[in-house]
């Protein structure tokens, strides 16, 4: 998977590294600001109210 991505990144090695960092940052941001906020209420961690 990762080697496949690496092979498909264009340009010289410096550009590839930069692209890889951007990709990773994008995935992390997507997780932190979209996926986790959606997922969190569905998990039994943090309910603080009584019914």
């Amino acid at each position: 998977m990762y080697s496949w991505i690496w092979r498909h990144l264009p340009g010289p090695i410096a550009v590839r590294v930069a692209l890889a960092v951007v990709l990773a940052a994008g995935v992390i941001a997507l997780l932190l600001f979209v996926v986790f906020p959606w997922l969190e209420p569905l998990l039994p961690f943090n309910n603080v109210t009584t019914e």
Binding site: P41, V48, T50
Partner: protein, 300 residues
């Protein structure tokens, strides 16, 4: 050579992995099926590692990132509340708190726990939806408001999201929880624990801080300062905590405050409940802006 070749497939595999570098035609002659297995296994391994990283990232999110997000929202709510309190056109001329028309998620009071330090203060917002609790401690909409007879009940997060109620298990009997509204200060103090009730008057009750905290009788029999209940136990926020059927007359109804949070940490199995009783009421004086309840100095 032949015998070396025979020693094991492993040796051949290594040169196969380095196939691009070693100009040996031999490994390329291996069946293509083998490469596919390798790709699948490696892909599976990478997926598992990635999943592990995502779970770790979720922990970081839950414990740290939500704190940052909530701190911003709490600051906004506090600033909005300060603006409203300092605006003389709101609420007319009379110096009287009016409750009940707050929007969900709107701040309406501030709470302090002096024991946790002078910097422990949170703006309490209306409502206990997930969105409201992200801003700060949330008031159960059906319960009383600060200073009113009944049970001013507030829920707060214990892990992440600012974790306002992280340490409320450390509150001891007679420790103050101070609530500030626009025109008043209300000092609530935690009521005795079960094991402190016997001999309260001779024991801890002698502490000058404990004035007005004696074990309550009547409908309030059985009330303790701290307990752990199941999430289904909604009675803890009833007007008479833990006794939803009781309906004492207005004169017998005490002004209580209840905090709820999750227990144990990182779990929603149970709820940690803290009950406190109103012991002091102090009206703000526009001529003396520094007038604050003495309980706020009980830092430690």
């Amino acid at each position: 050579m032949g015998s070396v070749e025979h020693l094991g497939r492993g040796a051949g595999r290594i040169s196969g992995d380095l196939g691009d570098l070693v100009p040996s035609p031999r490994p390329r002659a291996r069946p293509a099926k083998r490469d596919r297995t390798q790709t699948v296994v490696r892909g599976f391994g990478e997926a598992l590692i990635t999943l592990g990283m995502v779970v770790l990232l979720f922990v970081v999110y839950e414990v740290y990132v939500t704190d940052l997000i909530s701190a911003g929202k709490q600051r906004e709510a506090a600033a909005e509340l300060d603006d409203r309190w300092s605006d003389p056109t709101i609420g007319g001329g009379e110096r009287q708190d009016h409750y009940g028309d707050f929007a969900e998620g709107q701040g309406f009071a501030k709470m302090y726990v002096p024991k946790f330090g002078a910097d422990f203060h949170f703006t309490v917002v209306e409502g206990t939806t997930a969105a409201s609790l992200e801003i700060g401690p949330g008031h159960y909409t059906d319960t009383a408001y600060p200073g009113e007879p009944g049970n001013f009940s507030v829920a707060g997060h214990r892990v992440g999201k600012g974790a306002p109620f992280n340490d409320i298990n450390l509150i001891e009997s007679c420790d103050a929880i101070v609530v500030e509204t626009r025109f008043s200060w209300f000092t609530y103090r935690m009521v005795p624990l079960e094991e402190e009730k016997a001999g309260w008057a001779e024991g801890k009750g002698k502490d000058p801080r404990c004035e007005g905290v004696a074990p309550l009788g009547g409908a309030y029999e059985g009330l303790v300062g701290q307990r752990i209940v199941l999430p289904t136990n909604g009675g803890v926020i009833a007007p008479v905590p833990g006794n939803p059927e009781a309906s004492p007359s207005a004169g017998e109804m005490a002004a209580m405050m209840t905090l709820t949070t999750c227990h144990p940490r990182f779990s929603d199995k149970e709820r940690l409940i803290v009950h406190a009783v109103l012991t002091e009421e102090l009206d703000k004086d526009p001529n003396k802006p520094d007038l604050r309840p003495a309980a706020l100095e009980e830092t430690g």
